[in-house]
């Protein structure tokens, strides 16, 4: 399938650009990062200096090309070196601990927001000027609020004042993590408020786009024809208008996901949620460069993968993407 192959090549290029940026940024920036780290962590052994140098590429052991090759090999083995802030731990072990939290939270909340927003968008587009439309300015206000600030407000209202939700953390600290219901229930309980934050801020974007596309689609001749044939409104809305209006929505999904992930990362800090965002904050406050770099790569690769999955779904849903390729 040439369309998929072309997209695959594009994502490969994007991944390579991210890898290369990640390699050159520490080498191009002014200042000596190694000395900064050594000064910050007095308990680091002097022998760690060389290792840090190699990792950050400051000491330039070997030619640049050589370093680049070693770096690529390391990344493909999921080897991001040793963490500086939590010294004996490896960066990849820290990532493995935190990624599932963020992935499940952001994934579930995004799917809910997408389905809800698209559904509301269909209604708002079909009943143009109806009650759903009247909510639009309010939704725009919600959309304009930074994720982390909405998180603060919700915490204040629902957790501090209302006592409806737990204040922080990903699970009750008295429960030992594991695959048993106590822990899973506690984790779900703690993730409700962060998920609500994501849904509230991102639902307006989906709704607005779906509404606008619906309004344009309803004006198409085939929808008029369906209506004139006397088909039921439900049939016209869902199988004629909404099905076609859904395509731009899916095409935008991958890019929008990038924005959601970014917002969610900062939001995790407010909830002290044990995900990648909190890890990133710790990396920034302790100038933990290896961790920062690894997180950048992991987030970028996840977003690229999500985009690729989106493209595959589009090929299955939209026959035009396939036939356009066949016509070439």
């Amino acid at each position: 399938m040439p369309f998929i192959l072309r997209r695959l090549a594009f994502y490969a290029v994007a991944a390579w650009v991210a890898l290369t940026l990640n390699f050159f940024i520490p080498r191009a920036m002014p200042g000596n990062a190694v000395q900064g780290i050594m000064a910050k962590f007095p308990d680091l052994q002097p022998s760690a200096y060389k290792a840090l140098e190699a990792m950050l590429g400051v000491g330039h052991p070997g030619s640049l090309l050589n370093q680049y090759w070693n770096y690529l090999v390391d990344v493909f083995h999921f080897n991001f070196g040793t963490d500086v802030a939590n010294y004996p731990a490896s960066v990849s072990s820290l990532l493995v601990q935190t990624i599932p939290w963020t992935l499940v939270l952001v994934g579930a909340a995004t799917v809910i927001a997408f389905v809800l927003g698209t559904g509301l968008g269909i209604v708002a587009g079909w009943r143009h000027g109806g009650w759903v439309d009247r909510w639009l300015p309010g939704l725009m206000f919600l959309q304009a609020i930074p994720y982390f600030f909405l998180a603060l407000v919700l915490l204040e209202l629902l957790a501090v004042k209302g006592h409806l939700f737990p204040l922080a953390q990903g699970y009750n600290g008295q429960i030992v993590p594991g695959w048993h219901w106590d822990f899973i229930g506690s984790a779900i309980d703690h993730s409700l408020l962060p998920a609500l934050t994501i849904v509230l801020t991102s639902v307006a974007g989906w709704m607005l786009q779906m509404r606008n596309v619906m309004i344009t689609t309803i004006g198409e001749d085939y929808v008029v024809a369906a209506q004139a044939k006397g088909l039921s409104s439900r049939r016209v809305v869902f199988t004629y208008a909404a099905r076609n209006a859904l395509l731009p929505q899916l095409q935008g999904f991958g890019l929008a996901l990038g924005f959601v992930v970014q917002g969610a990362l900062v939001m995790e800090i407010v909830f002290s949620y044990p995900g990648v965002g909190l890890l990133l904050l710790n990396a920034v406050t302790s100038t933990d460069y290896p961790l920062m770099q690894a997180i950048f790569l992991v987030i970028t690769f996840t977003v690229l993968l999500a985009n690729l999955i989106c493209d595959v779904v589009i090929v299955f849903i939209d026959p035009r993407v396939r036939t356009r390729e066949a016509a070439r």
């Binding site: 594009f10 994502y11 290029v13 650009v17 991210a18 940026l21 990640n22 940024i25 920036m29 200042g31 990062a33 300015p137 725009m140 959309q143 304009a144 609020i145 930074p146 982390f148 600030f149 603060l152 915490l155 204040e156 501090v160 974007g205 989906w206 607005l208 786009q209 606008n212 344009t216 689609t217 309803i218 004006g219 001749d221 008029v224 004139a228 209006a245 929505q249 890019l255 929008a256 990038g258 924005f259 992930v261 970014q262 917002g263 990362l265 900062v266 407010v270 990133l280 904050l281 920034v284 406050t285 100038t287 920062m292 770099q293 997180i295 950048f296 987030i299 970028t300 977003v303 690229l304």
Partner: protein, 336 residues
């Protein structure tokens, strides 16, 4: 002046509301720092003024170290808006440069520039921004502006490239080229004036992005933490546990200011969108003539048409065919 007033009257309500709201904040940014009641950094040693709730002397209360929140807010709005507008100008200029160049030169240039644009569109900006700013030895307004501008152009570039591609093939551009106009003249006088609304929308979006990103970066601590912006205010409120201490007056004002500026910009952008695509307009803007609703997009109503009462299905079909006569507009807008 009357032309300006005329344009204003024709603007959709959303655009007007957005412009007025934004105007209030711009005005605050201009005169705010001059009318602050206190020095925003001054730490009042009085015990009673630590975390004091709003009062007549301190309209928005004080922080834990006795600083006046209102003064910080007035200075902060200036700093945040200043940064956002500068980033908006630089990044939009870059978008126009890349977008127009790619579409106009075509061929290999277009391939390469489009590839770069799409790659930077798909790589999430915030982790990259954090990485770049994290490696910089000193944080502050200038490095943030440079980094944000450097990563803020791809969306605009893509939209402007697409628009330039269609304008490039119009007859008046061909006419200019045939009459021997230089390429730069065609770009500056034929292409760009026809893209003004698109460039304006892209500017508004970039300002929105700059506010969101700079506030998020400051909230993480990647800013000059001794200066007062809306982001650093939230950073201090969060790191000194304003929420847990119940000091809502500390973190609510900067957050609400950000949300209101954001809403103003989104309203402005939706308004610009509706100005160009009347079908998106609120159906309430339809007027009533002889007791019948007439859509702004519809043709001039004929009285006979209105007095004859059409059946519901016929009216529906009619309304559809009317709008289908309108030219095709690209669906959707930016999703954020």
């Amino acid at each position: 002046m009357s032309a300006l007033a005329n344009t204003w009257r024709r603007l959709p309500f959303k655009a007007k509301a957005g412009a007025v709201l934004l105007g209030v904040f711009v005005l605050t940014a201009i005169i705010g720092p001059a009318v602050t009641p206190y020095d925003p950094s001054f730490q009042n040693p009085s015990q009673a003024l630590s975390l004091a709730p709003p009062s007549a002397a301190h309209l928005l209360g004080t922080t834990q170290s006795g600083q006046d929140v209102l003064s910080q807010l007035l200075v902060g709005i200036r700093l945040t808006l200043e940064l956002a507008v500068i980033v908006g100008v630089i990044a939009t200029a870059l978008s126009v440069l890349v977008g127009v160049t790619a579409a106009f030169l075509g061929g290999a240039w277009d391939e390469v520039l489009s590839l770069i644009t799409n790659v930077f569109l798909v790589i999430p900006a915030l982790p990259l921004l954090i990485l770049l700013l994290g490696y910089l030895p000193q944080k502050g307004q200038l490095p943030t502006i440079i980094v944000l501008s450097g990563l803020g152009w791809p969306w605009g570039a893509r939209v402007i490239r697409a628009q330039t591609l269609t304008i490039r093939n119009r007859d008046f551009v061909a006419a200019s080229r045939e009459s021997g106009e230089k390429t730069w003249r065609i770009i500056a006088f034929d292409i760009i004036p026809n893209e003004i609304s698109l460039i304006a929308a892209s500017f508004v979006n970039t300002v929105l992005y700059a506010i969101g990103a700079s506030v998020a970066l400051a909230f993480i601590g990647l800013a000059d933490l001794n200066s007062w912006s809306l982001g650093t205010m939230l950073y201090w409120a969060q790191s000194q546990q304003a929420l847990q201490l119940g000091a809502w007056w500390w973190f609510l004002p900067p957050g609400i200011a950000i949300a209101l500026i954001g809403t103003a910009l989104v309203l402005l952008n939706t308004g610009i969108d509706e100005f160009g695509n009347p079908r998106l307009r609120d159906a309430r803007s339809a007027t009533k003539i002889a007791g019948h609703r007439v859509e702004p997009t519809g043709p001039t109503p004929v009285l006979a048409d209105l007095t004859a009462r059409p059946s519901r299905v016929a009216a529906l079909v009619h309304s559809f065919s009317r709008s289908s006569l309108l030219d095709e507009t690209p669906a959707g807008g930016e999703i954020r």
